[in-house]
Amino acid sequence: MNEKGNLLDIQGVSFRHTAQQPVLEDVNLTIRHGERVGLVGAIGSGKTTLLHMIVGLLKPNQGQVEILGQTRSSERDFWEVRERVGLLFQDPDDQLFCPTVQEDIAFGPLNQGKNREQTERAVRNALSLVGMEGYEDRITHHLSGGEKRLVSLATVLAMEPDVLLLDEPENGLDPVSHERIRSLLLSLPQAMIVVSHNVEFLASVTTRCLRVEDGKLKEIVV
């Protein structure tokens, strides 16, 4: 991992979903390696949009995105980004689409070109990281909300990303799963951006915090 320079450098980025009002407008954001950044903001303020833009699932209408030391614009530029930046989706139901937990976790490593044995190891590791050993053959569709959330995180960790983008990882969880996620995040070494409506949670897992408001980003103290 290139430890020099910035992890992420966004300059003058604007984004609009449709003809409507832009969701993000002339946004600047720089994140250095190893930082853990919290992201708050009202519903529909554009937090998810920002994360999706970082991995190139949405393309900005304007501005420049530099990730992992390189300017990225074409779909092909983002292939490398997606192998090194792990995105946890807001809704775990969107993240799990393979029949079994095992296959779902193996999907990423296989796309990265790992062989069978490496993939199996990655699956085992990822499951033990989130404390879900023994879930390999469970049908993803039948898991509970909290289990789905943890397995989703395992699918991301299995790709051994250098950076984590976590979209409301603790949302809709009961207190027990909530605590499990919190301590897991604290134990992970990666740089990360964490979106949440829960400011206490953010304060305990991140090092600094930003608020999305009226299409802009503002540094805040929590």
């Binding site: 029949p99 049908i139 993803t140 569709h141």
Partner: protein, 211 residues
């Protein structure tokens, strides 16, 4: 695999419309009120898939048809489901057309119903994922092959000169049928493992508790 607007002469179009009307009427009779949301949702899902999924094939890509799958999931209700889907395709995207709506419904729908009789029960009773996968492949291949035959037939009936189109598309169709089979196989295998209830039509598992 549509017959485009204008290609079919009145006789072929009328024959298609009559056959389709018969099939759709049977389908509507078979479809209980409780099954309407199911038929509609399956039709929407397949409609979306056939519109946006592009399965890579060499330098190009093909859209799936999934009428075998529709048949296995919906039985006779696949007939009205295809009528609706094809009408919407004609209206929104100009695939097919209204004078050829009957023929196209027949071309898509009857092979689907055939697949229901041939494979639905077997898939329901299959124990292993692999078996379901293979039955799915068979359903996909059968349905699309039958559709091809019906399509070619109606094209040749529409004008002998049109046979050249059939000849030229024979080879590409072989490739398309293969991919459709594999694709359908994976979907059926998935459903058999994750949600086996998919293959039980609601009226088989529960009739209305009060008659």
């Amino acid at each position: 695999m549509h017959i485009t607007e204008g290609v079919a002469p009145a006789s072929v179009a009328a024959a298609g419309a009559l056959l389709a009307a018969g099939g759709v009427a049977l389908g509507l009779r078979a479809m209980k009120d409780e099954q309407i949301p199911r038929a509609a949702l399956v039709a929407s899902a397949i409609f979306v898939a056939s519109l946006v999924i592009r399965l890579p094939l060499g330098p190009s890509s093909v859209h799936p048809v999934l009428n075998g799958l529709a048949g296995v999931l919906l039985g006779w209700a696949a007939m009205p489901a295809f009528l609706v889907a094809l009408f919407l395709q004609a209206l929104l995207f100009q695939f097919g057309g209204i004078t050829t709506l009957g023929i196209n419904t027949v071309t898509m729908g009857f092979p689907a119903v055939a697949c229901y009789y041939l494979f639905s029960r077997r898939i329901r009773e299959s124990k292993k994922g692999r078996e379901a996968f293979l039955l799915g492949v068979a359903a996909g291949v059968t349905a699309l092959t039958l559709s091809f035959v019906l399509w070619a037939g109606s094209l040749i009936l529409s004008g002998k000169q049109l046979a050249i189109i059939v000849k030229l598309s024979l080879l590409p169709h072989l490739a398309i049928v293969t991919i459709e089979g594999i694709f359908t196989g994976f979907i059926v295998g998935f459903l058999a493992r994750v949600y086996p209830k998919a293959f039980e039509m609601p009226h088989i598992i529960k009739t209305r508790s009060d008659p």
